[in-house]
Amino acid sequence: MLKKIGLVKNTEIVIDESFVKEVSGKEMGFEFLDKILGFLVCVLGYIVLFVMIDGFLSHSISKSSLNIFLSVAIVLFIYSVYLFRSHDSFSFGMIRKNLNNVSILISNSTLKQLNISPYISNGLLNELGRSSDIFELFTHLTNHFDIREILLRLNLDKNEIKDIKDSSLEIKMSLDEILLKALEISIYMERDHIDSVSVYIALLENVFNSPLEKYGLNQKYINALKLWLQNTGRLQRYREIYLRKRSFKPTTTINRALTSRYSPNLINYSTDLTVTAIKGNVMFSLARDKEINAVIENLSRSNKTAVLLLGEPGIGKSTLIKSIGIRMVIEQVPKEIRDMRLVSFNFSKAFALSKGLDDYKSIIQNSLEEAGKAKNIILVIDDFDQFINVRADFVSEIVGLFVKAYEEFNLKVIATSNREGFSRYISSQKALASMFSVVELTEPSEEVSIQVLLDKTLSLEKKYSLQISFDALVSAVKFGSRVMYERTMPEKGIFILEKACLKANAEKHKELTSEFVEKVISEQIGVRVGKLSVEESKELDDLEATISAKILGQKEAVMGVVNAIKRSRAELTSNKKPLASFLFYGPTGVGKTELAKTIADVFFSDSKRLIKIDLGEYQEDDNLARLIGKGDSSNFVGGELTEFVRKNPFSVVILDEIEKAKPRVLDLFLQLLDEGYLTDGAGRKVVFTNTIIVATSNVGSKIIADSIASGETYKQTAKRVEAELPNVFKVEFLNRFDKLVMFKPLLRIDIEEIANLILKEQIKNLKDKGIDLIYSKQFLSEISDLGYDPVYGARSMRRAVQDNVESKIAELIVSGKLKAGGSVEFKSLKDVTLT
């Protein structure tokens, strides 16, 4: 009795209910029983065979009896083969059909109806039979060996998962609906059958997703898991073809049809990547299928067969070329290039071994000629820009040799280069540039990077005896993409993952989790990333108090900054903009720069992660180059701002006196605040997404002083000044800041507190030398008067302490009047006594 359970694409999906009811569960245990019986039958076969041989040798049995013994032995052996069979493909008198045979028909919507009963795996049928409800099915499946591996990948605990049965979860899906979802998942993952794995993923995705969220399960991980299972299956199939075909591939320089020529010169300066692929392992990524196909398509044409792979170092150019080598071995390429060799020409070796430029030139000429005449060579030239630019005065000659060989022999070439090399040396040579079809490798998306890392996971797990969870991969990609900008994904992700594996292995961990990867990244960059630890949460909670202890009299400003920092650390802000950006405005000497320094100290744990750009010094138009650098690669002078941030991506950038900046400079900062990066003079992208930008300005100082003096509140004053700010800055510029923070003039009590703070630093310093410093209230009041200036605020406070405290103590120490163990008391500015 066929029952309709739904539609996949345009195919009506039905199930033979009576079959599932009849079969499921009844075969339970038969597989094990069959194996036992198979063993016994096989042993019996050997006994019969032994008796027969013994009888034959001793002539104790007749010829007809021998034949009977032989026939019984044959029957027993072939029956034991049947009993030992895999129940996945045949069980319970029914053939388990392979889903891959119909999945294309379903995808193309060319199949009208599909009965899924024969496509359900034997293992799943057993579980369907012994489970009374979906909860029970889920619990039974959780104990499966292959499911346990999946749970480990998802970093889920088997026992925690079982607990969800006790929760008040209402299941809204029927078993038929789950089977339909499992069918879709099986087709996507290219599974042979609708099996326990696909049903389990369907349950995780559609039924148990909400209760498992608290254990860290999310759709992104499930998608990555499905992709990984799909990749594993594909790689397995590739491996089978590879093992079958590689033994028929020639490992010499001559092709199978014996129509090619020897290349005795080229062989000295090259590596045969096809032979490497034949002798090595199947190690290739499925993540760049589109680009691989584009290269293969270009190479298979009859003309214009030079391809230029354009991409930054570490983006996967070499892996892509190796993957083409594997494709050639397993013959998944058009017949035009099937019987060819992929030969990588090592021009550095040729240059090193040459006896001079003329010799080098003749090596290049001979190698290109041999590659062309052999007719079975696809020439790979890595770093093509360097190949033609081995010496500046030699470029046109090398280009000439290459163009001539290409035109004469219709060479098939894969060249690689990066963007800078391409624009400087290749695109400027028109004859050369027009030869190439450019295939660009852009930095992969997070999903593709995860896929590349997934491809590496199996070998890393084997190498370091670890189980790598998905969230560890996700963390390596997510946080990796935000750090180490000098490297590119996916190489950067692989580097982080390997480093984490090495460390986890050394620390005898059995699993690699996201927390561990985040810890490794944090150690690498010196700044904490990832989930907030309990310790860090507490630190952030106390942030306001920590900063307020250093910045006095600016409670509202500190609060504004702290809130913005908390938002940023909780990852609620855009990750394509700086971590936080502030415009501090108000009178001078009230703590604007000091607050910026405190942010560097507190947020990046290092007050040296700070650059102060005094925009008063950038009044000329050509000063822009001082910020972002200028010149070409041979004489490039890095910009003060861009070089610092390139070297210290986690830092605070203070743009002092922003109101003095020229419009062109302001436009530069507008881009920085908007897009989170600047392009330096060498055309490199300098990313500011890990910086905190603090612009300071004295705009509105007078209004602030007058308003506060007339008794207006902080909010009222801020409102008045912010209404004035558009007269100085463009509105769109002001809107780019996360927070406009007003600093108010310091009160008398704040001034004394600042003086007290500086004097306490002195007490601490002198204590280390064994000297006590004591001061009176009168002295504090006098020094506060001295250090405070109505125009410059408390800026000269430190100078006042230096002149009136440090200098006097130094004098006393030098004259020998004050020694370790002694103390000095400042009763007033003029009354200093030794005690």
């Binding site: 044959i74 029957v75 072939i78 083969v81 049947y82 069979r85």
Partner: protein
């Protein structure tokens, strides 16, 4: 009883002649294909008049033609022998379950 019959009697016949037959056929096909690949017969046939190693001299062309011809002849013979052998193995597989019955009848 029906389950036992399906699993141990009728199941065996279905498995031997439908499931395992496909596997055996695949195995024999790959073996046959492997021999053909090693003999490079298709490549030699399509390049019969193309000189070996691009030796374009008249002598080179003549020698190449004869070497390829000898190769094709030898490879064809080997292919036929292997094909016959594979066919025999295939037939033996088909009659193997009935072979004991023939033996018993013959000896009865």
């Amino acid at each position: 009883m029906k389950i036992l019959f399906q699993n141990y009697i009728s199941g065996f016949i279905v498995w031997w002649y439908l499931v395992n037959l496909v596997e055996i056929t695949k195995l024999l096909y790959f073996f046959w294909w492997g021999i053909l690949e090693s003999l490079k017969l298709p490549e030699m046939l399509t390049n019969l008049f193309i000189p070996l190693y691009q030796d374009e001299t008249t002598l080179g062309k003549v020698i190449s033609f004869f070497i390829r011809l000898i190769w094709i002849t030898m490879a064809s013979v080997v292919t036929v022998v292997v094909s016959v052998f594979i066919f025999i193995v295939f037939v033996i597989y088909l009659i193997l379950p009935f072979l004991p019955i023939f033996i018993l009848i013959y000896n009865a």
